[in-house]
């Protein structure tokens, strides 16, 4: 009998940051090939940073991504400080966490409401969804704006924040100047709680998988800027050991590099990894909301990442308020930096997962080499693995429905292809 083959093809992936494509080949209800295509130009920014002064790096890397500039700045300054033997503590450290809270609120809320929720509710996009769920969309927009209020104040402007420097900040704010933020964030915390309840009611496909989750882990805090890189399969390393354990591989179908654990292959970074490895470090309110939503202390269904993002938005609001309550303006906005020859490493938790930076500097603080590994390239192999398992379980669906659900499965990861790449396009082939 002639074998039945089918192709699922999406040339242009909608509702992901950036542009990408997917090609899936199915033969007799078995997936024989999955290629998530990402077309990455030469690593422009790594080359662009070479020869630049370390002071320029935070503002240059902030422009790699319009969605998560804070993450790029944070990984940059921590790596430089690591090279110069500098440790930032106290209120300056708290303010960095506050800035990161703003970015998580903005980035997660954008993805939850504008990019991912329409999948679950059967709308083509947020514009169609807004026609039936106007109040929900308005809540999303206002919640996202609360995150922006933090980033634009502390970061110095709305996009590509310019107030961050190696050693601290350029300008600081008084307790009074932060006061209006508190009211905004109190509303945002309630809206975030409502978002957890709302996302928990969405319909989820059954799709529990075994993953190696990788995230930062700090002894006391839910991780933003610091921690060891740990996994549920025993990985427990310092950021400086990253390249001994992780490897970037070239794959023929994509210009982006696939990142794998040398010993075990694909791994999972982002909100679900952070949540599973750090549940106990969430604030009591966030833990309670998560448990009441039915999430449990551990989640292995990537479709439920939308609930976890909502829990993280709630945590970010809660943490931002905690920081603002105890804030006392430091005497100096930054710690003086003495450049020295060396190598610096850092990993911070971008909204989408760990963002690794490594710089080699000369005695004057000039950048000799830079290496940047964004979270999306780390999840790329895991996204392909998900699709290999998801498609056979849903092969009975119409081409249109199956294609939609494959796109939804990709959006579980909120891939930021503009960080990892330039343009992405998607196709699924059933032969």
């Amino acid at each position: 009998m002639k074998k039945k083959t089918r192709t699922i093809k999406v040339d242009y992936l909608a509702r992901v940051e950036g542009e990408g494509g997917l090609h899936i080949k199915v033969k007799d209800d078995e997936v024989v090939d999955v290629k998530l295509k990402i077309f990455e130009p030469p690593r422009f920014f790594e080359a662009f940073l070479r020869g630049r002064d370390y002071k320029e790096a935070p503002d240059i890397t902030a422009r790699i991504c319009g969605i998560c500039p804070v993450a790029y700045q944070m990984s940059t300054v921590h790596a430089m400080e690591n090279a110069f033997g500098l440790q930032i503590d106290g209120p300056l450290r708290d303010l960095r966490r506050l800035l990161y809270c703003g970015e998580w609120i903005e980035s997660h809320t954008l993805h939850i409401y504008m990019l991912h929720a329409p999948d679950f509710l059967g709308y083509q996009d947020a514009i169609q969804m807004a026609k039936d769920h106007r109040e929900v969309v308005e809540r999303g927009l206002k919640l996202k704006k609360a995150g922006n209020a933090i980033v634009s104040l502390l970061g110095g402007r709305e996009i590509h924040p310019i107030n961050v420097r190696v050693g601290g900040f350029y300008k600081l704010f008084s307790k009074q100047e932060f006061e209006p933020l508190k009211e905004t964030l109190k509303w945002a915390r309630d809206a975030a709680l409502e978002t957890v309840r709302w996302t928990a009611k969405l319909p989820f496909p059954e799709f529990n998988q075994e993953y190696e989750f990788v995230a930062l882990q700090h002894p006391e805090e839910y991780p933003f800027n610091e921690g060891r890189i740990v996994s549920n399969k025993g990985l427990d390393i310092d950021c400086s050991e990253y390249e001994e354990h992780f490897q970037e591989q070239h794959v023929e179908h994509s210009n982006a590099l696939h990142s794998v654990l040398k010993e075990r292959g694909a791994y999972f970074v982002g909100p679900m990894a952070r949540y599973n490895l750090n549940f106990d470090r969430l604030s009591p309110l966030s833990q309670e909301a998560a448990l009441q939503s039915g999430l449990g202390r551990e989640c292995k269904n990537p479709f439920k990442s939308i609930i976890i993002r909502s829990v993280e938005v709630l945590y970010a609001c809660d943490e931002a308020l905690r920081i603002l309550e105890s804030y006392e303006k430091p005497e100096r906005p930054y710690i003086e930096v003495e450049p020295r020859e060396g190598i610096g490493y850092s990993c911070t938790e971008a909204p989408r997962g760990i963002l690794y930076h490594h710089y080699r500097l000369d005695g004057e603080g000039k950048i000799l080499d830079a290496k940047i590994v964004p979270p999306t390239s780390q999840n790329q192999k895991t996204i392909e693995n998900d699709l290999s398992k998801f498609v056979p379980q849903h092969i009975h669906l119409s081409q249109e429905q199956l294609t939609w659900q494959c796109e939804q499965a990709i959006r579980n990861y909120d891939p930021c292809i503009s960080c990892a790449t330039h343009f992405l396009k998607l196709d699924i082939e059933r032969t």
Binding site: F44, K131, R134, E158, I159, H160
Partner: protein
């Protein structure tokens, strides 16, 4: 945080490290350098909800962005968003999936569109990583800034 008086908000959109995509920002900077009391100039990456936040409270908004419609590089497209539906394909050079067109159409759906929203789209050619603009695109910076400046000056 906006100061909604009789000023026109100029939103220059783009990425300085994506060749022709920088043109919107460079035109906005050119306008900002003219220090007009009638202008409020902001730079944006093109992420849609941020645009909606930026134009809140403004009656008159001008968006300047690179576009990719298949026309010859350096062509200027002028659109009136308060009258025309904006196709997302027009701004496909943006890496943001919820971008300019989506922001305009979502704002229209929930009645948050400014009274006057005009778009000046400059047809780009090269959106790869880099800092160099295509000559046909670069030479438009000054004339397009002049045109926008004159258009605003003619407003009551």
């Amino acid at each position: 945080m906006n100061a909604p008086d009789n000023k026109t908000l100029i939103l220059g959109i783009g990425n300085l490290y994506r060749c022709d995509d920088a043109v919107g920002i460079l035109i906005a900077r050119n306008l900002n350098d003219r220090n007009s009391s009638r202008l409020n100039v902001q730079e944006q990456s093109g992420e849609g909800t941020s645009l909606m936040e930026a134009w809140e409270g403004f009656d008159s908004v001008i968006i300047v962005d690179a576009v990719s419609s298949g026309a010859s590089p350096g062509s200027l497209h002028c659109l009136d968003a308060s009258k025309d539906t904006i196709s997302s394909k027009f701004f496909s050079c943006s890496s943001h999936n919820f971008g300019v067109a989506e922001a305009i159409e979502l704002a229209r759906a929930i009645n948050q569109l400014p009274k006057s929203l005009r778009l000046y789209g400059i047809e780009g050619k090269n959106f790869e990583h880099g800092e160099a603009l295509t000559p046909e695109v670069e030479k438009l910076i000054e004339p397009v800034a002049n045109k926008i400046f004159q258009d605003i000056s003619s407003l009551p």
